[in-house]
Amino acid sequence: MSNLRFWGLMGVLIVVVWLAGRLVTNEYVFFAGYAVLQYILLATAWNLLGGYAGYINFGSAAFFALGAYMSVALNKLVELPVPILIVAGGVSAGALGLVMGYLTLKLRGVFFSIATLALAIVFQAVITNWSWVGGASGAYVMRPADGPWGGSYVEYLFYLMLAMACGSVALARTIERSDMGYGLSAIRDDEGAAESNGVPTLRLKVLATVLSGTLMGMAGAPLPFYVAYLDPPSAFNLSYAVNTIAMPLVGGTQTWIGPVIGAVLLTAVQETAMVTISSASNLLLVGLLMIAFIALAPNGIVGLAKAWKKGETHDAVSNRSAHRHRGRSG
């Protein structure tokens, strides 16, 4: 996809969603749409480090929760518009990413992952014991009924999330096609070789961590207004860690479109299962489909589509070579 087409399509998409939103009277659409967009943003953010550079971050919840709690804290001091809170959440989570990056990125593979996990656990204890933001008893955040541009407040949050999701996807696409993207993929393929070939590995990794953390913090910032109540167990809920990792994997980690597809698909499945199946089996279905997706398309939906396309033109292409061939789609 050429640059012109990408930006054109993105613009058309935003206008269409906005127009459609004007026509919708059913608020559920905005509530569900918000969830989809939030996960597009989270999955894209995770993929900057996890997909491009191959560093698995288990601590997404820490960044996401930092953004959310930044909103709670600032909102207690003075009433600020949500976009400013989003910036604040993004900056603070980015700073956390910077610190974490310098502390942990010398660690490779699983050690990095465990370090991010430890970070999330330490951070949760800090929030739990910080009574200013509600601590363990949780914080109530009063959401106004109406948004500043007419329509409901959740509609407003939905559009903010739409803007952020689109922005993150554009950023991911830009990175993917830049020197930074090639550098990160070199790190993923062989970090030692990349380093000896003059790729500034540590700087690139730290930069990716900062960007990834910033986006996750931004994703978390509107959360208190969406839920109206925030306590540590819900801000650090396992489902955020699971989804931010599973979604890019299901969609495909090599290209910007993968996390988007994964997020849309998995959120749609989870949401549909949750609001149509009345019993506990909704989660069973989610689990089964998650396994089915990843088993049928181990390189993600994007990988599957590519292999299939190739299979049409050439005769047989194994999944494996499709995996090795780093995608330049888009």
């Binding site: 059913n26 608020e27 559920y28 509530f31 569900a32 969830a35 204890a125 739990t128 014991n129 601590g135 363990a136 008893s137 949780g138 109530y140 009063m142 959401r143 009924a145 409901s152 959740v154 959360l223 969406y226 839920v227 109206a228 109540y229 306590d231 540590p232 167990p233 819900s234 809920n237 489902s239 949401e271 949750m274 609001v275 149509t276 199946i277 009345s278 019993s279 506990a280 089996s281 909704n282 989660l283 069973l284 279905l285």
Partner: protein, 417 residues
Amino acid sequence: MTQFPIGRRTVIAGALGSVVHGGASFAAEPIKIGFSIPQTGGLAAIGLQALLTMQIWAEDVNAAGGIIGRPVQLVTYDDQSNPANVPRIYTKLLDVDKIDLLVTNGTNLTVPAMPIAIQRGMVVFCMLALAVNEKFKYGRFFQTMPYGPRGKESISEGFFEVAMAMTPKPATVALVGADAEFAKNAVDGAREQAKKHGLKIVYDRTYPPPTVDFGPVIRGIAGTNPDIVYVGSYPVDTSGMIRAARELNFRPKLFGGGMVGTQAATLKGDLGEMLNDVVSYELYCPAVAARFPNVEAVLKKYQPRAKQKGIDPQGYYVPPFCYATMEILHQAVTGAGGTDQEKIAKVMHATTFKTVVGDIKFGPDGEWDHPRMLWVQFRGLKGQGMDQFTNPAAEVVVSPAAYKTGELRYPMGLAKQ
């Protein structure tokens, strides 16, 4: 074994089953009652009890001709114990399923529904939630647990009253609770109570709910040598705290508090004699059964089905008050002559409701106009086994005075008595 149809709206099917059973008398549209309930995750143990009770209520109502001639239909989804799912479930219920009435449960699962309910002027029939309306001050919110107007202090008031009546008067108190919403509020309330009664707080700490070994926590408390210990805890840690206290033979003058879990049959049965002399709260227990004779009929229907589903087989804690919530809803809709939310809210404020758990009158904040938490002391338990808890003497009500069935025994004795 139990069957679990993976179909749409199993719950509704259950309710409708009895609609059909009731004959063709219903020509009217059903009244749709919508709610989100945790069926998986950490809160499922309580959520599934509430769900079963509501199903039983719906069957009872439909068999008796419905509400104002209309059958009731339950529409429910599993929020997986995650508050972030709640806003979507309630908007779906309201905008797509077009429910007529809205029920909520649990504190952290009710708050996310509040802005949505407020925006649409829906009456909130709420249960098992603590002090939600303190922040919202919503005139159409009604909560059925008997916490009363002072919210979180109700989970310690009775305990401290009982404690201060001991001779000699206790001088020191240790406060300990889980790092989670209910327990934290319980301990916050207890701190106020301790100050009010002039007790010296010698230990005031929290622990994370996933703690495995409570021995170190109990040792830390024992090191400060308090007269009384107030614990705010959740089921698994309640069990851990009591076990650890017994194993380390830590026996202050009074041990107990707002311990969730001492109401659950299987946990009580497991702890058995270790519970002797522990003081905790109850909403309903065999000791007061004679005061509330209609609870028996609900439990008779609940118990066999609960056993089959693997949830609390005795059901003294959640089902009576959950059933009462639905009875209130029934009477309010009947009183309002329909599902007009404004009329229902008026009826809710004006009426004293007759329920299985006694008369309920709501104050202006939508909580009971007076607290009625029962404070019980466990007595005469032997070994393990939950059957002994059906005996009214196993839990002696020590407060409030109106329900008292015995005197507090102190100081805390050995487990084996």
